[in-house]
């Protein structure tokens, strides 16, 4: 069982390629969400970033551990995305890589710890709290659900699936909130009524993680 469900470097590669695909597919949606309460670049920024990530994977030898893949993703995002999302997602992938260490495969608990590390990195960089209408509102329930699933004995793919589901719900739940961090906060009460673009992209990224692992997603 362990042999088939733990996550290796190939999974990490599939994850980022799948992320690039869904980000490209949802580029216009993310731009539109950001247009409503921000500056209309979130979809473009992530598309540019993950395209670069894929280009990098295509051009060089694929790193041999999941952490090495994630670190390469982190560096590429940091140097190509820009804006708020660049450093935040960059930090998330960097912390995720660090938390995984030099293991060849990621089991359920490590997967949950990896998501927690990513989430904590974002909070450390951006200082947002739950309810501020940011990607933290997707990462925090994702991390909690992942931990719950891991404790309940789920395998790694299912841990990711739990995280993805919670992230989706968290993203949807940002709609009525009034933003208190990031660009949307300038709008005050006018920020209510729209989902946060970063929370939505977080859900897409975690969904890609689960899909690449073959986890059972609701």
């Amino acid at each position: 069982m362990r042999m088939t469900t733990d996550l290796d470097a190939q999974w990490a590669v599939r994850w980022v390629r799948e992320t690039a695909r869904v980000v490209a597919e949802n580029r216009a949606l993310l731009i539109d969400l950001d247009r409503a309460i921000g500056d209309a670049d979130h979809g473009e920024n992530l598309d540019r970033g993950f395209s670069a990530v894929v280009a990098k994977l295509d051009s060089a030898d694929v790193p041999s551990t999941p952490a090495a893949v994630l670190e390469q993703v982190a560096m590429t995002l940091m140097s190509t995305v820009g804006g708020a999302a660049g450093p935040l997602y960059g930090t998330a992938f960097l912390r995720a890589a660090t938390s995984v260490g030099d293991a060849d495969v990621i089991d359920a608990e490590t997967a949950a710890a990896m998501i927690r590390a990513a989430r904590d990195g974002i909070v450390a960089r951006g200082k947002a709290e739950v309810g501020d209408k940011t990607m933290v509102d997707a990462w925090t329930p994702a991390s909690e659900s992942a931990e719950t699933a891991a404790q309940a004995g789920a395998n790694a793919p299912d841990v990711l699936a739990a995280a993805a589901n919670a992230a989706h719900a968290g993203a949807v739940a940002t709609e009525p909130l009034i933003a208190r961090k990031g660009r949307a906060s300038y709008l005050g009460e006018r920020s209510a009524g729209h989902q946060d673009p970063g929370a939505v992209s977080t859900a897409l990224i975690l969904q890609a993680a689960a899909d690449s692992a073959g986890g059972a997603v609701a």
């Binding site: 731009i31 247009r35 309460i37 921000g38 500056d39 209309a40 670049d41 473009e44 920024n45 540019r48 940091m78 140097s79 190509t80 995305v81 820009g82 804006g83 708020a84 999302a85 660049g86 450093p87 935040l88 960089r125 951006g126 009034i178 208190r180 961090k181 990031g182 660009r183 906060s185 300038y186 709008l187 005050g188 006018r190």
Partner: protein
């Protein structure tokens, strides 16, 4: 969307390339990673000034690279802050041994990317200080926002800190002058029509024929509130009042005033706004010592204007008047 562009994704590269060709006497364009330095950088013994941010605000920042102002500008994608891998080499390229000041507009993205770059440049042995420009009174500086935005005040910070650096002030001194400008400058903006981000292809918001947005920033984002169209004098009053209140301007104060176009507003309209600002400040007993009227910090082709007021003292004024030679601001040279 109709724009004089080729590939929407090449807008920044091609525009900066054209800028470099047009101002080859003033600047050098470093294409990859993209940044712009003043021709004679690094100036030995002088504090280097680096600013940057999303593109689409031209002439900010590249238009202010040159003697008496910035040593380097780092342009991001349209409305997207640049990345550390651009800021780090730009910082290194203008370090003449006296350290480098980062002038950062207060947006989460800019702050985070410049923070990272500063840390890494420091690790590479460059002394780096930062000032955060946050002059937009449309945004409450409270627990409930990311803090006030950096807008028109940036032009004054870049110019006056640039003059201090040119005068030979050390890094602490230049930083202090820059911070003093930040502390004394406030802005407020209005949009009559939105702009269209090239990669988005549709206007950033829709306004009815009789609506305007008050309290807008420079990223095509909606403002604080939407009101019915008013005449120029009425709108000017709305821009001025919160600035006067926030700066506590009173009779005898001396100021530097910028009436700034957002990109799509004719100069004639900006002068109509300036006229009213001058009348209103005169009524308050506040003196306009110097002024700028024109497109200095824009939001693509947005229609609208912003007002920026800096309370000046003798030193700031003296620094303001020293020679400056950049693409967008030039005198005494």
């Amino acid at each position: 969307m109709k724009k004089l562009i080729n590939d929407p994704r090449a807008v920044v590269d091609e525009s900066v390339e054209g800028f470099g060709l047009a101002h080859a006497d003033l600047v050098t364009v470093h294409p990859d990673p993209l940044f712009i330095t003043r021709k004679d950088a690094p100036v030995q013994g002088k504090v280097g000034l680096v600013s940057g941010g999303g593109s689409g605000h031209e002439p900010l920042h590249a238009g202010f690279v040159g003697r008496g102002m910035l040593d380097a500008a780092v342009p991001g994608a349209v409305f997207t802050s640049p990345t550390p891998d651009q800021i780090i080499p730009a910082t290194a390229a203008v370090d003449g041994g006296a350290g480098v000041l980062h002038i950062v507009k207060n947006y989460t993205g800019d702050v985070l990317n410049f923070e990272t770059a500063a840390e890494m440049a420091e690790a590479d042995g460059v002394s780096v200080r930062s000032v955060l420009v946050n002059d937009d009174v449309a945004v409450e500086d409270s627990l409930y926002t990311a803090g006030r935005r950096g807008v028109g005040g940036t032009v004054f910070v870049e110019r006056i800190a640039g003059a201090a650096a040119e005068r030979g002030d050390d890094l602490d001194g230049v930083t202090a002058v820059a911070q003093r400008v930040v502390d004394s400058v406030r802005s407020m903006g209005v949009a009559l029509a939105a702009c269209t981000v090239p990669h988005a292809g549709v206007p950033s918001f829709e306004l009815a024929e009789d609506e305007i947005e008050i309290g807008i920033g420079i990223h095509g984002e909606p403002g604080r509130h939407r009101i019915a169209m008013e005449d120029a004098d009425g709108i000017t009053q709305r821009l001025l009042d919160p600035i006067v209140a926030d700066l506590r301007l009173t009779a005898g104060d001396r100021t530097l005033v910028l009436v700034n176009g957002m990109g799509g507003t004719p100069a004639s309209e900006l002068y109509i706004v300036f006229r009213k600002v001058a009348q209103l400040l005169d009524g308050l007993g506040v003196t306009i010592e110097r002024s700028l009227v024109g497109n200095y910090i824009t939001a693509l082709e947005m229609q609208g204007a912003s007002l920026t007021i800096l309370r000046v003292d003798d030193e700031m004024l003296e620094l303001w008047d020293t020679p400056v030679n950049t693409a967008a601001l030039r005198w005494g040279a």
